[in-house]
Symmetry: C2
Subunit: 434 residues, 2 copies
């Protein structure tokens, strides 16, 4: 039992002394971290001492220094003289208990576990502070892109009002494949899986849970608000079709899974959703599995951070950078800022924006008139109607663009529209970002 673990290593603060590093979890990222530590052997501040994984025997590799201890016992790691634990198990349990126990045993912790930090970050940082231990989590967001340290340190002097980005490489890979090759969503997903850019079960990526966890962490560090991943509005990219890109291009845009956290007048809006972004924007130019984050500050304006958001080596860079922070004796590292009480930050679930509204209908006369009348009754103004040729009348796609309206208005209108028998598919809505 994790709760029964003992610690023989008494609490101590990691100062200029050597970090004795135990890797817990030896998959893609774990072995990349080990390789990076191996490549940095000349730097004596970091020394790999333990590798821990289930069924450790099948994990052993020959290229790791012979004095590293291989174990499948977390208890053995916690009881060892390792003074930094790198948690790469993923998921909430047993990772959560491991991290708590490690901190309580006086070990520093570095983790790449976004769900863990998104759900328990503030508590774990509090525990780390109580135990005078470093807790590093730079690898949780955007892999090798140092956006968390940028927001926390380099932009600390600004008042960040918005963070917007592409935080999920799997979705971006899928969307750019649909865009560039005109393949279906299912085919693009399959390609992404075959190319190693998507897991066998990619639900969390596609439906936005993965990006929502990252966005919650970014919002805490950048906007200085307390937020749980459940407060992030999430919409899936599953319903997108190649013709959505054709229509988006007609509008000078493309489609990306965009994560937005915005704070204005005490109101916070956080969402992960497919969105139209202008072809001129830096977000539109993010292709494949890359990540990009644009932070907007009241004083410094827009600052962008881009690079490899996933993969063994880039994530290992973030992990080892945190290990070096620990070694530099920074006892608190990337702290989460003080919470703003719930009262001073109200969460809203929609924002006013122009919208893209796509239908697939069984064509018959009068459909546009019917839709326009429903939208008008919900106080929504039409901007334009687009219909590209070359589709069958029994499943005819067309797009209506809307002047700025709130999602709630749109949901009301869509609830009424759902009753009409001419719909061949559920309509797709996306905000058009400025």
């Amino acid at each position: 039992m994790v709760t029964a673990l003992s610690c023989i290593d008494r609490p101590r603060q990691i100062a200029q002394t050597q970090c004795r590093v135990a890797l817990v979890g030896f998959g893609t990222v774990g072995s990349a971290v080990a390789r990076l530590l191996q490549a940095r052997r000349d730097d004596h501040s970091l020394r790999l001492t333990h590798v821990c994984n289930r069924n450790i025997a099948r994990k052993k590799v020959g290229w790791i220094a012979s004095d590293v201890r291989w174990t499948d016992s977390i208890q053995q790691v916690l009881a060892s003289d390792a003074n930094v634990i790198v948690e790469l198990i993923g998921g909430l349990e047993p990772a959560h208990q491991l991290v708590r126990r490690a901190l309580q045993c006086g070990k520093a912790v570095v983790t790449a576990n976004k769900q863990l930090i998104a759900h328990f970050g503030p508590d774990l940082l509090e525990l780390a502070r109580e135990n005078h231990q470093y807790l590093g989590f730079g690898a949780c967001v955007a892999g090798g892109v140092p956006v968390l340290s940028g927001l926390h340190d380099g932009l600390a002097g600004d008042r960040i009002v918005q963070i917007r980005g592409i935080l999920n490489g799997t979705c971006n890979y899928i969307l750019t494949r649909i865009e560039q090759a005109g393949v279906s969503f299912d085919d693009a997903l399959r390609e992404a899986q075959e190319a190693g850019f998507a897991e066998a079960d990619s639900t969390d990526d596609i439906d936005g849970q993965d990006a929502a966890a990252k966005l919650a962490i970014l919002a805490r560090v950048g906007l200085k608000i307390e937020v749980s991943p459940q407060q992030v509005v999430r919409r899936s990219i599953r319903s997108l079709k190649p013709f959505d890109f054709e229509y988006a291009h007609e509008l000078g845009c493309t489609v990306r899974q965009i994560s937005t956290a915005k704070l204005k007048d005490g109101q916070a809006y956080l969402a992960v959703e497919p969105s139209l972004v202008s072809n001129d924007s830096s977000l539109a130019r993010v292709v494949g599995s890359q990540n990009l984050v644009v932070s907007s500050g009241e004083f410094g304006g827009d600052t962008t951070f881009g690079g490899h958001g996933a993969g063994g080596d880039p994530t290992a860079v973030a992990v080892v950078s945190d290990l070096l922070q620990a070694a530099r004796g920074r006892s608190r590292g990337v702290e989460l800022p003080d919470h703003i009480s719930a009262a001073s930050c109200e969460f809203v679930t929609d924002q006013e924006a122009p919208h893209y509204l796509r239908f697939v209908v069984r064509d018959k006369p009068g459909i546009i008139a019917v839709l326009a009348s429903v939208l008008a009754s919900c106080d929504i103004n039409l901007d334009a109607v687009l219909q590209k040729p070359g589709h069958t009348k029994s499943a005819l796609p067309f797009v209506i663009t809307l002047e700025p309206c709130r999602q709630k208005q749109l949901d009301n209108a869509l609830a009424r529209i759902a009753e009409f028998d001419f719909l061949a598919e559920a309509p797709v809505t996306m905000p058009i970002l400025s």
Copy 2:
């Protein structure tokens, strides 16, 4: 005399206690820092106590808290209870002596003075360490873009092999104006001056000294090599003409002032020079006075940092971020890394690259044949010859693109070509970056 200054405030380390901030230099950046501190009054970790400037009477403003002391005496500031000096005088002296004395008096220092750090950074950091004081200089490079902290902290775990970027907003403004409006260099410079994007004497910007200082600092922090600004190859953007952009566009490129620091096999190459960059690259998309830095790591690949590289408010964000670092009790802040001894890093002054070679000639038959023969005699292979219509025969521009060659070969060839009487202008060469 600065050397006769006394310090009544004994050395002390800035811990969690309040930073009492003295601004020395109250121009654009200084007043933006004061405004930002004013806007952050709720954060009691930073308090503005002194503003120091020559002829201080004409600098006084009403919006600063009444208990702030206005002075034109650096000596008074050094002798005061301010425990952080923000050096915004610029230039080497008296800024250098001020910073030395402040550190010796036990005050932390934050500076936006790139020339000071480029020339004396390692010595000043040593002095800061000896005196257990923080020395922050995040504002020296790329204004509000937190690239120095990104390289030092967030990417610490990687081995950076190249840093490339657009570090001078004045040049970028001028080049994008020539590109977009087809104006001459002189007109674009005048426009930049009128728009506040260029100083009355912009020599340091245009000829590369400004970017060279920033590049030297980036190379120290990122590539971990000791380098002085004089070791940076510099070429001016002065000779560029609107038709250079036309020819660049023919090649799928545009022209930017690019700063490059590259480390390979113990050889370092640092240069600031106008260069052709592919229209697809993130560098080509930097318009106006924006900055962009792309760092390339052996493990993490390319990471980009972009934003406002100059201006009062963005630079003030960088200064205040450093002040917050000081307040957080980080006694050493952004350290320069240990030097690599000169023996292990040889500086080379040219790199092999395909080149753009532009002539303006008094046209007569046989010129291409003559040039081709000289280039061939220097072992340089031609790639293509481009000549756009619409120019007079007495000053006819055309371009030869060259297969990869070294600058030294090219200089040899150009020395011979200079003897021919058909040249109407000195040829312009630029590397074509991949």
